[in-house]
Symmetry: C2
């Protein structure tokens, strides 16, 4: 195989597929990027076996200035290829691979010979019959990922909780993530064509979702399709393949409280800063716990009695109604939850010191099924 290409475009697409490449793996070939050159263009693939990212650069792409002399396939070490291409002296790169899979990479006076592997040895991507593609609202979908992903579990003991659970409703999509201490749920409206039911409910690994959120430009058209325990996202020239997580996702609906004993309305950003201050001392103690007390028109955060010292802060609030309350929680979880709302008024609903707190936006959204809620389990103290 032999081709020349614009260095900047080649660097960009190497960077894109490199996101899938593992830092550690027992399958050596996965340290490589596969380059497959056809008459139509070059396909680059990076994979960690769970997630694969594929990028296609077409000969018809004017900016890429791709000129193919000879087709073929090779796998080259990803990190080295990326470093070399990034540092080459001119804007044009030539790659020429001989029959022994040695690639000669030339640009200006610089000439690298890199020993590669036959492209045949690279694992095949799943071939999937893509019938029911759903077009996603890219920006909202990315926001939904960022507003829920932090609540997904890091514990491999219950693998299904390490993902984001998506449920397809009639013209809306629900995302749920929980590590059993807290739960994030976001709904977004979704216009489906006809009888599009490519899935009912799936759980996607959080690494897939976080890479997707980083790599998709806001203005791209993003599609999603599901088949054979695989999900495929496609946008621009990029395709992301990922396995789905198996196992039954817990029924989270019944966890969401429907009653309220005490209701506090605060600015999410101001409250976040106060919690951040209090957490400076809770982080020094054995238990990372902040106390909240609502009583007599006074709302106070505090961390008490550890070896370093104490902190107390009376916080500003919009309204505080219902029963007096003392409750304790992990300030880092509360910070994550508050951060997902941005700088708006949030309503925090409490039932008792041992039952979950429910955070939601004070303003109801005009459109139906467009709501974010955060659920947080308190920490029992005494």
């Amino acid at each position: 195989m032999k081709f020349t290409i614009n260095r900047t475009i080649f660097t960009q697409q190497i960077n894109n597929v490199q996101r899938a490449i593992p830092s550690k793996t027992t399958i050596n070939i996965l340290y490589g990027i596969k380059l497959a050159v056809s008459e139509q263009g070059i396909t680059l693939i990076g994979s960690d076996a769970d997630i694969s990212i594929e990028s296609f650069i077409a000969t018809s792409d004017d900016i890429a200035k791709l000129n193919i002399e000879k087709t073929g396939e090779i796998v080259l070490p990803a990190r080295l290829l990326s470093e070399i291409v990034k540092k080459l002296p001119t804007d044009e790169v030539e790659i020429d691979v001989d029959e022994r899979f040695t690639a000669t990479i030339t640009s200006g006076n610089a000439e690298f010979q890199i020993i590669g592997i036959n492209g045949n040895e690279y694992p095949r991507l799943p071939e999937i019959d893509i019938e029911n593609q759903i077009v996603l609202p890219t920006l909202t979908f990315k926001k939904m990922i960022n507003q829920t992903i932090f609540a997904a579990s890091n514990q491999e003991s219950r693998p299904v909780l390490t993902g984001i659970h998506l449920v397809l409703g009639e013209n809306f999509l629900t995302a749920v993530a929980t590590d059993s201490h807290r739960l994030s749920q976001r709904q977004i409206p979704l216009q489906l064509e006809k009888e599009q039911t490519c899935f009912e409910a799936i759980t996607i690994p959080k690494k897939t979702m976080s890479e997707l959120a980083k790599i998709v430009p806001d203005e791209s058209e993003l599609t999603m399709s599901v088949a054979n325990q695989q999900i495929i996202f496609h946008f621009d020239q990029i395709t992301i393949y990922s396995r789905l997580l198996e196992g039954n996702y817990p029924a989270t609906d019944r966890l969401i409280p429907t009653t309220t004993e005490t209701e506090l309305v605060v600015n999410a950003s101001d409250f976040l800063q106060a919690i951040d201050r209090a957490s400076l001392l809770s982080h020094e103690g054995k238990n990372n716990i902040v106390h909240l007390e609502i009583d007599n028109n006074k709302v106070e955060l505090s961390v008490k009695g550890n070896e370093i010292g104490n902190v107390a802060e009376e916080i500003n609030y919009e309204s505080a109604d219902g029963e007096a309350l003392k409750i304790s929680f992990n300030p880092d979880y509360m910070k994550d939850a508050l951060r997902s709302f941005g700088d708006i008024l949030v309503k925090i609903q409490f039932n008792s010191p041992v039952r979950p707190m429910l955070l939601s936006s004070l303003e109801k959204n005009e459109s139906a099924h467009n709501e974010l809620i955060q659920l947080l389990t308190p920490v029992r103290t005494h």
Copy 2:
């Protein structure tokens, strides 16, 4: 003790003295910042026993808005104090210390109680009779540090080589650093008043020099004085105390070659980039070596025959004179040396494949004693 102060100014000076505070130490009190409040102002001190940084905020400083109600001394945990002050909700901070050394830090509604230690228990700074202060050309002195410090050794087996060696000449100052594989030497002109001979030759720990270079603003008046195996730098409201390194610094003058068999003139920045590319492959091999060949009007860099591949690049040069030559070297050392010159033409003088290379600027400086040289020992290969 009790005072109020502007939060921004307090944060800045906490950050300055915090630079001396060790991340690990066996002397617990050094994890703290000492605050000493007198009628004139507050002195902050951070120290790792080798280096101490002191900052003084005067009551006369309008921006600091320092208001002292009661004098006294306390040591507070540095990292926590810094985090708290940074995150306080208003621009004014009040610190009130009771007789049991508990500090109450108040700003807006937030109130922290932090347990401190009696300031008496903090190690004393050396009291030095500062007679002969030298005024340094701040910007040039900082540049001199940055152009030599990388060549200082990291090996504690010969402690004196871990410092920068300063020699005071008649109206010039020489800085030398060497790890015995390479050597950096920079001279700068220095106007001394009368018979100022505060020292002849001293060796300053490289940590002191790198912190100094980071912390001194370009436009400050910087002074230096030496006494009792201690060096003191002073600028603005900051004083840096450091021990000197003991031991005889090697006589480096005789290492600098006086003959030349081959001379190459290249642009330092272009040559640096070519070496950077070649080093991508030398880093993959067992020995981190790049070869340079000068022959028949051709100058070529190469890395050959490791398991990953090869690289060769014919480099652009301004002139190449003298004997043909093959020489090998550590590309990372060569990159450091080239980087110290910036984007100018440098002359590289060679004697043989086993004798040091001498790098210097092609243009002679107008002023005497204002020269940078870099010496680099080749790696023997055969």
